[in-house]
């Protein structure tokens, strides 16, 4: 097997037995990125110098044998909304094209302290607004399985990088499916963490009350290793959870069956419009889970059809406020031709933001404005409470829920871009999770016309261990996650 096809555990074995150095490994990845990424276009920034410097430090640490973790010396990439000190962090927006943060996000800090190696930053829909990376201010990432198709979004660059072997793992970010959706389109394993499980400090916000950083990798086991490294309470994030982090990988090592686990199948997620192949693959995955000892039952999440309008209204509102700081005053693009302050605001924001971003800022400004707040924003927050109740009720009888991730496999580039509402609807199975703040994982479960299909496993707050166990045991029996696109 080639280096880029190994999982984290295997790579860690090579590093710790010093069959390969982190520097060699890093150079191999950088070389592969240089060769293949001009076609895949998964990276906005490749931080080769930083990577090699970090790799050398990792090698010293490996040599000393002190404080090694499973991620020491392992290269990775991060979605470009996760702040990296001294390395461009653009959110794939022209408005932040040359922005270099002067601080590291907490998740990156934690990976630095494990001596992981940052290869670069991945393309995304601008500020996370999209489900295809077509809304990137720079370029569209291609699906490594078929270049005519989108990789999904908004963490499309991250999913494509893992699928194409351009990083062994990445940090994605999920606001309304942004980890799970591209993970399913690209055939990788992606975890949307419980809201607050991973610190948001340094994560450039889209929707502060939905955003979560989550790992994407080649297996549930790898995801568990990354999660252990980045999760935990952060005094710099008032919304982060204080509960101690479990030792997920240890628990996976011991896992044998799913006996005693009750799995709910929400009937509202298997409806008209669901692609036949997707439906069949997801149902086959459910059978597989059942064969592992789990008890499967039908459940109902009655407010499912309202999740999309609720999600988008809250998103519009929070995003319009979160994006106000891009005003050409302190950082980023600044249009100053006229010498008038109002023009700095107007021209910078007009030139710096893409169409979808402007559309959402406009809708959010509207939804929060005097006279409309109650009818839109407040109404959405109330329906959100009902959607959360649906999940609470379901989790009284089940330990996890299984659904499709997306109604179809990856669509063609350009297919939905002209109709924003159509694009919004492709998030139908993923956004409710963010409204409830619960964790969910996308696991590869099949192919249709050469494009991957993902199955979604959801659980109650802080049930990451359960989700990883289901994914891991499933992957011990199946090989969908081990397939590589022919590049």
């Amino acid at each position: 097997m080639e280096l880029h096809e190994l999982n984290i555990q295997e790579t860690h074995g090579l590093l710790s037995s010093r069959k390969i150095s982190s520097e060699e490994l890093t150079r191999a990845y950088l070389e592969r990125i240089q060769r293949l990424d001009p076609q895949v276009k998964s990276y906005v920034t490749v931080s080769g110098d930083v990577a090699l410097e970090q790799a050398k430090k990792a090698d010293e640490r490996i040599k000393s044998g002190e404080g090694l973790t499973p991620l020491t010396g392992i290269p990775y990439s991060a979605k470009d909304s996760i702040s990296t000190r001294g390395v461009n962090t653009t959110c794939s927006s022209r408005i932040l094209e040359n922005y270099k943060p002067f601080y590291d996000s907490t998740a990156i800090k934690k990976l630095n302290s494990a001596s992981s190696v940052l290869l670069g930053k991945n393309n995304m829909d601008e500020f996370g607004m999209g489900s295809s990376t077509e809304n990137s201010g720079f370029f569209t990432t291609r699906n490594p399985w078929n270049f005519d198709h989108v990789p999904g979004g908004s963490s499309g660059g991250s999913a494509a990088a893992v699928a194409a072997g351009l990083a062994p793992f990445t940090l994605g970010e999920d606001t309304g499916g942004s980890v799970r959706h591209p993970a399913s389109f690209c055939g990788v394993t992606g975890l949307k963490t419980t809201y607050g499980r991973v610190s948001r400090y340094g994560l450039i916000p889209l929707v502060s009350s939905f955003d979560t950083i989550g790992p994407m990798a080649r297996s549930a086991y790898d995801v568990a290793l990354v999660l252990e490294a980045i999760a935990g309470h952060d005094p710099k994030d008032s919304t982060s959870r204080i509960e101690p982090v479990q030792s997920y990988s240890e628990s996976l090592k011991k896992a044998e069956s799913l006996r005693g686990l009750r799995i709910g199948i929400p009937k509202e997620y298997f409806v008209e419009g669901l692609d036949k192949d997707v439906d069949a693959s997801v149902r086959a995955a459910i059978k597989q889970v059942e064969s592992l000892g789990a008890e499967v039952m039908e459940v109902s999440l009655p407010h499912t059809q309202y999740a999309i309008p609720v999600y988008y209204l809250i998103l519009f509102a929070e995003a319009s406020s979160n994006l106000a700081k891009y005003d050409g005053v302190r950082f980023g693009m600044s249009e100053r031709k006229t010498g008038d302050l109002m023009d700095v605001y107007l021209k910078t924001r007009e030139a710096g933001f893409g169409a979808e971003t402007k559309r959402r800022i406009m809708l959010g400004t509207f939804a929060l404005s005097a006279g409309y707040y109650d009818a839109y924003y407040l109404k959405a927050q109330k329906v959100r409470a009902l959607i959360r109740q649906d999940f609470q009720k379901a989790f009284e009888t089940c330990d996890a829920l299984i659904t499709p991730v997306a109604p179809t496999t990856a669509f063609r580039i350009g297919e939905k871009i002209s109709n924003p509402l159509d694009m919004y609807l492709s998030d139908v199975f993923v956004v409710a999770v963010n409204l409830a703040g619960i964790p969910a994982m996308s696991v590869p479960c099949g192919f249709s016309n050469g494009l991957p299909i993902g199955v979604q496993v959801m659980g109650p707050h802080l049930s990451e261990e359960t989700l990883l166990r289901i994914g891991h045991l499933y992957q011990m029996q199946t090989d969908w996650h081990t397939k590589h696109p022919p590049l």
Binding site: K100, F102, Y103, T194, Y195, G196, S209, F210, P235, S238, T239, S240, R241, H303, Q305, Y306, P309, Y312, L313, S320, A324, D327, G328, V329, R330, F331, G332, S334, R336, T338, G339, D340, L341, V344, Y345, L346, K347, R349, E350, K358, R359, I361, M362, L363, T365, F366, S369, Y372, K379, A380, Q381, K382, V383, A385, L386, P420, L421, N434, A436, H461
Partner: protein
């Protein structure tokens, strides 16, 4: 319980919002947003079907309460690091075109 949005989405509304959001929309963008706003607002008006009479809004995703920090001074960042991203600076100040009226 209306199925369609009752709001009159016209150019004036879109322009007022754009000015509040500090977006200098082109004529084409304004026209496009007028039609898209109608569609999207019609679509979200499906929420009017839901009875929320006795429902409290759920603003936050976690049930955590605020745990304030102690009043302790931490190191600040260097002025140089902060100003490195600024479009214009002078004598350690961030510089902008003159603000004409006091707020």
């Amino acid at each position: 319980m209306s199925e369609k949005s009752q709001i009159q989405v016209d150019e004036k509304l879109v322009k007022d919002i754009a000015s509040l959001a500090r977006l200098d929309l082109t004529a084409d963008e304004t026209a496009m947003f007028v039609s898209q706003f109608k569609d999207i607002l019609d679509y979200v008006s499906i929420l009017n079907e839901v009875d929320t009479e006795n429902v409290a809004p759920a603003y936050l995703s976690s049930s955590s309460k605020n745990s304030p920090r102690e009043d302790v001074i931490e190191d600040s960042v260097s002025t140089e690091d902060f100003l490195a991203n600024a479009p214009q600076t002078k004598d350690d100040y961030v510089v902008i075109p003159r603000v004409h009226v006091e707020q």
